[in-house]
Symmetry: C2
Subunit: 327 residues, 2 copies
């Protein structure tokens, strides 16, 4: 089978690619199929991928339907649609967010619709679809009143995916992802980027600024778990999802104080002391508007799992990204 990952040069895209290559096959509607070809579609050519004949990096513009058709060509059986403009960037540049997050998603759906047989499509949505006045604990029955353009654009993507699936154009599944921590690499333009920085930078021997107080809480999932979840979502039978293809993933709710305490527990006082507390009222306000507690029993019943605790997330980061070595 031929699988396409949009956003394939991003960090989740590359981790997903490695996991798919190691796994070698995916369950589909017609049984288990070997992955013969894996296309990593992104705005830039994916770099640093394992030397593997199955992998093909392709640079292209997701807002151009013709280019999306070139990636999602007739032999494609499955698509992971991860490409997106992240939250702070979509808020700053409304038109760019609309183009990539709405029109780009529509292009992926249209390309799938044109396939000779309906493909499975996993769409990375976000808990940012929630917002505004919310109950203390949210679930899949909570209404969506997003208060960011990113959240609104992801909610539109979900509605499109659901309707394209209902019409039989594609067999879609949308996962509402918690904030992914610890992201490797450099800070990005998501408002949540500090949550990874305050763990990643101290572990690498650098200072990091924490713009929110110890009490601020976040709903979190690790890179390892998100890759597992994307694959699990792909392999779910279509009727497991019922009338709605949207699913909020289980995560853990952690305060920033607990995160830094866990850093001290795992890596020692010297490392945790590299976090500098410099509250930024704007970031504090954004973070305070995020939902922090979900009852994800629907996803749990389908086998999706959260991390056990934040220390486990830090240890996995040290293993996966630092070769087990803390600076």
């Amino acid at each position: 089978m031929h699988v396409v990952i949009t956003g394939g040069a991003g960090f989740i895209g590359k981790k997903l690619a490695s996991a798919l290559l190691a796994r070698g096959a995916l369950e589909t509607a017609s049984g288990r199929q070997a992955i013969d070809r894996l296309t990593l579609f992104d705005v830039t050519q994916a770099e640093g991928m394992p030397d593997d004949d199955r992998v093909h990096a392709m640079a292209g513009n997701i807002t151009d339907l013709a280019e999306v058709h070139k990636a999602i060509r007739d032999d494609v059986d499955g698509v992971f649609h991860l490409a997106a403009i992240v939250s702070a960037n979509a808020e700053e540049d409304f038109d760019l967010g609309m183009r990539v997050n709405v029109e780009g998603t529509r292009n992926v759906l249209e390309a799938c619709r044109a396939l000779p047989r309906p493909a499975r499509l996993v769409f990375a949505s976000s808990v940012a679809v929630y917002g505004g006045d919310m109950p203390d604990v949210l679930d899949d029955g909570t209404i969506l009143t997003p208060q960011t353009s990113y959240g609104a654009q992801k909610a539109i993507g979900e509605l499109l995916l659901n309707d394209y699936s209902r019409k039989g154009f594609v067999d879609g599944r949308a996962l509402r992802l918690p904030t992914i921590v610890v992201r490797p690499g450099r800070p990005n333009r998501a408002a949540s980027t500090f949550a990874s920085s305050i763990i990643r930078e101290p572990l690498a021997g650098q200072e990091a600024i924490c713009p929110v107080g110890r009490d601020a809480a976040m709903y979190i999932l690790s890179p390892r778990r998100v890759v597992d979840a994307l694959i699990r979502a792909f392999e779910l039978p279509a009727d497991a999802l019922g009338m709605t293809r949207m699913l909020t993933l289980p995560g853990i709710t952690v305060s920033i104080g607990e995160m830094v305490d866990a850093l001290e527990e795992v890596a020692g006082e010297r490392v945790a002391a590299r976090v500098r507390w410099e509250p930024d009222p704007m970031i504090q306000k954004i973070v305070a508007g995020w939902p922090t507690a979900f009852d994800a029993r629907r996803a749990r019943a389908m086998g999706f799992e959260a991390d056990r605790d934040f220390a486990e997330i830090i240890r996995a980061h040290i293993e996966d990204e630092l070769g087990g070595i803390v600076s």
Copy 2:
């Protein structure tokens, strides 16, 4: 002030236009303003409008942004966006529905965004945004899991309107309309069209086929009330709506049996006998999927009102459309 009605050649558009001309002014953010110019934008030139210097009919394609800009030009202060592809038509022709209901709505929002000062925009959404497994009584906190392309497209329009409003590009308000009964004129391509036919045709001396049983129920609003509601929505202060610009209108829940009984009460046995019961399983299934009971207390608190009963709706139709005369 200059007001634009998209879908201005449709029956609600024309009734709204007449009501606005009679009223002569609208409350706006900067006080009460006289209506100097009223543009009726539609795919065909609006016909049968009163001879009034303020009225300008304009034919144009809502899926073409340049044409929408011509209607929503720099002096525009208010827009009523009613243009849409109706339910059964949007289900049959998915691409047409996407173009008009999604891209057309986006064009209206973009044209408003380009105005020198933010306009008020009233968007006709629909209770079709609800669907699937629903509670017995719905309210503004019920999640949207539309099971038709029309419903999904209206839900996308709402998300866009809400985000454009949050960004300050437009001052939008979306009304989720119940099924409008009695529609004048000819049957249209909405699956609900029979609900008007079984009243309108018998009153005009013709037989009408009822494709559902007496027990089927619908959530209904009259043309008079919908016009009142559109104007009330326009005049609401922006802060009345809070974090979400969407509002489900109060309506009345009536069974088809009660509708025909009311027809007999108002117009006599001879007229009611013109309804022929010929159940159509496909229509029955669609109608059974529609929500029938809403708790619209949020809209009621803002002064929106439902009809008193179905007999009142029939009497209003006889007055407004038949000059008081039943055939």
